[in-house]
């Protein structure tokens, strides 16, 4: 009887650890899914912001230069 109870406890431990492993595995897979972006590198390149202003100061400085 004692042996049978010990066996039951071992199997329960295996089941609990299996459950914990699966739970953690699922949890981290879901975290990875949340964190991973769905934007492709091409789209990311397209939406990269840029400054629309032109450096007119430099253009004015250039216009003051001479051609010989």
């Amino acid at each position: 009887m004692e042996k049978s109870e010990a066996n039951d406890r071992d199997i329960l431990l295996v089941a609990v650890f299996t459950f914990l492993t699966v739970f953690l595995w699922v949890f981290f897979e879901l975290v990875k899914t949340i964190k991973t972006t769905t934007v492709s590198s091409t789209v990311r390149q397209v939406i990269t912001p840029f400054s629309p202003t032109i450096d007119t100061t430099t253009l004015i400085q250039l216009s003051n230069r001479k051609t010989y």
């Binding site: 049978s4 109870e5 039951d8 406890r9 199997i11 329960l12 089941a15 609990v16 299996t18 459950f19 492993t21 699966v22 739970f23 595995w25 699922v26 897979e29 879901l30 899914t33 949340i34 991973t36 972006t37 769905t38 934007v39 789209v43 397209v46 939406i47 912001p49 840029f50 400054s51 629309p52 202003t53 032109i54 007119t56 253009l59 004015i60 250039l62 216009s63 003051n64 230069r65 001479k66 051609t67 010989y68």
Partner: protein, 226 residues
């Protein structure tokens, strides 16, 4: 030998019967329930709950990303319109950039400008040394192609003349449309200074200037062959 169930039953009966008291025991019943519950939750969690939650979270993330992309695209469109307006405003001045840093080396034009500058300032070019550069067109070998990258051309100019002319020449270099950066500048008394070439005290003695400088050009980036 034929299978005789009676003898076989008698043989294994004690095993069948030994399970019964175990199953009737309350502790065993509880353990079995708990074990199968954990295993069932693990199994359904892996094959049922995980893919469902993953799909839900992926779609939520995709929606959030698409909203973000949409906002950034709107912002970029606005900026493009602003950039187009700024480009139109500065359109007349844009050739100055090409003049300052051309797409081709345009060394001949530079030499001509240096010659005119020397003539205008009253000095004379005694030597001019330029490293090997393509005079026209693109680079000869694909490995040497530097499309879209600022390329520098080293240049050594030796001029001689009165000090004031040399100074004017240097000022002219700084004010020249073509951008040139001076690396080194050496001023020394001219060796071939003779009484006839000696300038008046007002204009100063004849000096020789050797300047090492860099000029730049930026080839247009070539489209990659697919």
């Amino acid at each position: 030998m034929a299978f005789n169930y009676k003898t076989e039953y008698e043989r294994y009966r004690r095993y069948y019967q030994s399970i019964e008291p175990v199953l009737k025991k309350k502790e065993s019943h509880t353990y079995t329930m708990a074990i199968f519950s954990f295993l069932a939750i693990s199994l359904f969690g892996w094959y049922g709950i995980r893919p469902t939650l993953q799909t839900i979270l992926f779609l939520q993330r995709e929606i959030a990303d698409n909203k973000d992309i949409n906002a950034q695209m709107e912002s970029k469109i606005t900026r493009l319109v602003e950039a187009q307006a700024a480009y139109q405003d500065a359109n007349l001045q844009l050739p100055l950039i090409d003049q300052a840093i051309p797409q081709n080396p345009e060394v001949l034009s530079l030499v001509s400008q240096l010659k005119n500058l020397a003539a205008a300032t009253g000095s004379s070019i005694s030597a001019l040394q330029i490293s090997t550069v393509p005079l026209l067109g693109s680079e000869a070998t694909p490995s040497a192609a530097t499309g879209g990258k600022l390329t520098e051309i080293p240049l050594v100019v030796a001029i001689s003349g009165p000090y004031t002319s040399i100074k004017s020449f240097i000022d002219g270099l700084f004010a020249m449309g073509r951008i040139a950066t001076i690396q080194t500048l050496t001023v020394s008394p001219s060796r071939d200074e003779t009484p006839t070439t000696k300038a008046s005290p007002a204009s100063g003695t004849i000096v020789r200037l050797v300047t090492k400088m860099n000029i730049y050009y930026m080839p247009m980036p070539t489209a990659k062959k697919t």
